[in-house]
Amino acid sequence: MNEHASPNGNGSDGSPLLQLRGICRSFGHVRAVHEVDVHLHRNEILGIVGDNGAGKSTLMKIIAGTVSPDSGRILMNGEPVEIATAQDSRRLGIEMIYQDLALFDNLDVAANVFIGREPTKGLPSLLGFLERRRMHREAAALLERLNIMIGSTRLPVGVLSGGQRQMVAIARAVAFEENNHILLMDEPSAALGATESATVTELIRDVRRDGLSIMIISHRIPEVLDLADRVMVMKRGERVATLDARATSVEECVNLIVAGAPATGQA
């Protein structure tokens, strides 16, 4: 399990943060993911590219616990872990941002950031009273720390622009940092214009600088090469290659995506 490109400036001592070994998942006769090996180093950005139906999203959902693998193993810090549900994944410090962002348009920014993890007082569990002021205060501090410009944490998310929505989703994913170290993003810039996309890219760099390790699915090859340390190419559920983002080119990636040339190294 060692190879090609090593993550940029990451003196990885011992095992990688996250390792997937021989992951398979079929839907009926369709092999969505087949024998995929991949790993993510601490503080690394790994890009995942491939055509539609290459298995990128399924792979990510397996890590996020919303799809279970038919076979294969997942290791964190070298230790095997069980990810059967989204809760398991969260407990391990893995946060996933879906393409649809999974935001609540009818709730305000602070409510979205804290959803499911609201601080409460008084009675336990669901009947506890929300600490609304604290949530607004902490959400505002979070936005400021991440340089996210949104006028007020009281704005309903439904009135925000696409880029702002993406940034709220990122802010929510990184809000609870002490036990959060892997961020999975499915097409973060797919629906965004050029300006917004650049701002979101900047934010992703910022949160990596804060110590997160990130996996990103994207169709925009130049953007991925610019942002990521390594890029994994997938085709028909299999890993075709893993490339050093600085040593490869858009042409090489596109060729691999289309032609599916064999990987150098193990399959």
Binding site: D100, G116, G151
Partner: protein
């Protein structure tokens, strides 16, 4: 969405303006609605000598109270992305259960408490059918409407019977000149507002109804939450059913008829939406008073009941049409 290329770092004031616009929209709706209610009152007052008397206003409030309680339960269900058409039949079954028990010699308070528990159980059954058997709420609760109608007829043999008072008709009493149900209305309103807007459960209700998929991804158990939601709505149905029986002073298998219509109209007028995630206790209150005022005025003007049904049904269509009007540039 429209290609509003607002740079994420857009000036704060444009964001603030968007917030103000959103607020004005909501506020505007409620204000318009109150104006419509006042116009309706003015119209009835001009046509009817007795309309604006304290006696009649109290009557409207008394009827509004029971309607409001069940409508608030209905509102919670709508906010959570559900629907309950069985409320009228549910109230009837609750009422005849309490009445029959009281007639059979069960102590008053116990008879009423059992009625409320029956309401909670009916809510649980609705929730069970919807979340565990995975049946669309429209179909599940429409079916329950008829099932409960049948149950009520079996309990009563299809006969209405007056009940000797002995305290059973407490909902007809006044305390300090105010009808007893109005106190229930106030308590329901306060508790519901607290539940909806200050607790985690209320926040999650808006989340589960606004975007169930996202709620699942945020590790919420949507089905279990909705099961609880229908059960709590059953509590509202239970209290309303007991009050209705007490107000009628009868075991009446035909009570609760058409309540779906009045309640749904009131709640949709009040701004709740079938698509979930939206609704308010205040909006529902205004909606209920509006519908009950309409009903009261039309009946006093000797408009035939059939016509009243047509008017209220039309009001429901208008309410939903108004709610679904194109929202140019809302997002």
């Amino acid at each position: 969405m429209t290609a509003t290329v607002t740079p994420p770092g857009a000036p704060l004031d444009s964001r603030a303006r968007a917030a103000a616009r959103a607020r004005r929209r909501l506020l505007g709706q409620d204000v318009l609605f109150v104006i419509a209610l006042i116009l309706l009152g003015v119209y009835f007052t001009s046509r009817l000598d007795f309309f604006l008397t304290s006696q009649n206003v109290l009557t409207i409030l008394r009827f509004s109270a029971v309607t409001f309680i069940v409508a608030t339960g209905f509102t919670l269900v709508l906010i959570g992305g559900g629907l309950d058409l069985s409320i009228g039949s549910g109230m009837m079954v609750v009422g005849v259960t309490s009445g029959k028990l009281f007639q059979a010699g069960v102590p008053l308070v116990l008879a009423f408490l059992i009625g409320v528990v029956v309401g909670i159980a009916l809510g649980y059954v609705n929730g069970f059918i919807i979340t565990r058997l995975r049946i669309n709420p429209l179909i599940a609760t429409l079916a329950m409407l008829f099932v409960l109608l049948g149950v009520g007829f079996i309990i009563t043999d299809g006969r209405s019977q007056q009940i000797r008072d002995d305290g059973f008709r407490f909902a007809r009493e006044n305390v300090g000149g105010v009808p007893v149900p109005v106190f229930f209305l106030i308590a329901t309103a306060v508790l519901s507002v607290v539940l909806l807007h200050t607790t985690k459960a209320g926040r999650h209700l808006f989340a589960v109804g606004g975007n169930p998929d996202a709620a699942r991804q945020a590790a919420m158990n949507v089905d279990r939450f909705r099961l609880g939601m229908y059960t709590v709505a059953g509590l509202y149905t239970g209290i309303a059913g007991v009050l209705l029986a007490s107000d009628l002073g009868a075991v009446a298998p035909n009570s609760g008829r058409n309540w779906e219509l009045y309640v749904a109209t009131a709640v949709f007028l009040g701004g709740a939406s079938l698509t979930g995630g939206r609704g308010s206790v205040l909006g529902t209150f205004i909606g209920v008073v509006f519908v009950r005022t309409l009903d009261n005025g039309l009946v006093q003007m000797a408009v035939r009941p059939q016509i009243v049904l047509i008017v209220v049904g039309t009001a429901m269509i208008l309410a939903v049409a108004f709610d679904q009007r194109p929202k140019g540039g809302f997002r």
